[in-house]
Amino acid sequence: METAQAIKWIIATAKADAPLVAVATGGFYETFAPIGTTMPYFLVVAQQPGSDVLSGNRTRLMTHILLQIKVVGFTTGYDSLITGADRIDALFGDTKNVALSPGSMIACWRENAIAYPDPNLVDGKQVRHLGGLYHIELKGA
């Protein structure tokens, strides 16, 4: 399933990046991090899970997927979040032709940046989200 493949590729790629691992000490999560997760953490969310591109005879050529990829952490550690978001953009901001099993990730680019404060305080401290919306074209099986 293309969306799951995309998320799996994103997390595997992120976990293989030493500078990003050094920032995301709370771990790497999909959709939602458990409440109480140590900050900062890495999060990928299927913002628009996918729309298929079909050929004339309805063969699926590829799927467009929009993922929210970000780091979440305390405002007091904002420099670290900037480093994390920069690493996310270096990894996914303009990437093409990555072989998957099955299929391939055809192209990945950032559509929009994301930067906003969380409405909730944790331990009396403000929390920030920093990253972007990344568009992925993926050919599955």
């Binding site: 999060l43 299927a46 913002q47 929009l66 929210q68 969380d118 409405p119 929390v127 989200h129």
Partner: protein
């Protein structure tokens, strides 16, 4: 004696007008789709967020039709006008929309804006293709 002439000015004007109409329709379709997503994802408490989604085109706006904000919420100021009639904005006036759409540490992202706007893309492509086809027919 021969005189050269063409209809490029008329063609350009017609194309410009048609493209503007397509953008306007796509924006209002997007607004409707986003509201439908909010409803279908059961994100309605007071209805303020849903009703605060509005369209701002070069000449018109549906801002301020969402009623009064509930306690603790605010209606954000109206966005400025787009630069031309080939640009339109689909916007939410409720200050808390961002957190529901993109998530918080306690709420998963619902993504209703992106899901709603994604559904207008086929219509936009089809409308622009229809303009292209009409121009080809006219050029024969």
């Amino acid at each position: 004696m021969a005189e050269a002439f063409n209809n490029w000015d008329e063609i350009a004007a017609a194309m410009d007008k048609a493209a503007g109409q397509v953008v306007r329709k796509v924006a209002f379709d997007g607004e409707a789709n986003i509201k439908a997503e909010i409803t279908s994802q059961d994100l309605i408490d007071t209805g303020f967020m849903r009703n605060s989604v509005y369209v701002k085109t070069h000449k018109e706006s549906t801002y301020g039709q969402g009623g009064s904000p509930p306690k603790g919420a605010t209606l954000l100021p109206e966005i400025g006008s787009p630069p031309d009639d080939k640009t339109a904005y689909v916007v939410s006036g409720a200050n808390y929309t961002w957190w529901l759409n993109y998530g918080t540490i306690y709420i998963a992202a619902y993504g209703f804006f992106e899901k709603g706007m994604e559904r207008v893309k086929p219509g936009f492509d089809a409308a622009m293709a229809a303009i292209n086809a009409a121009m080809k027919r006219a050029g024969r």
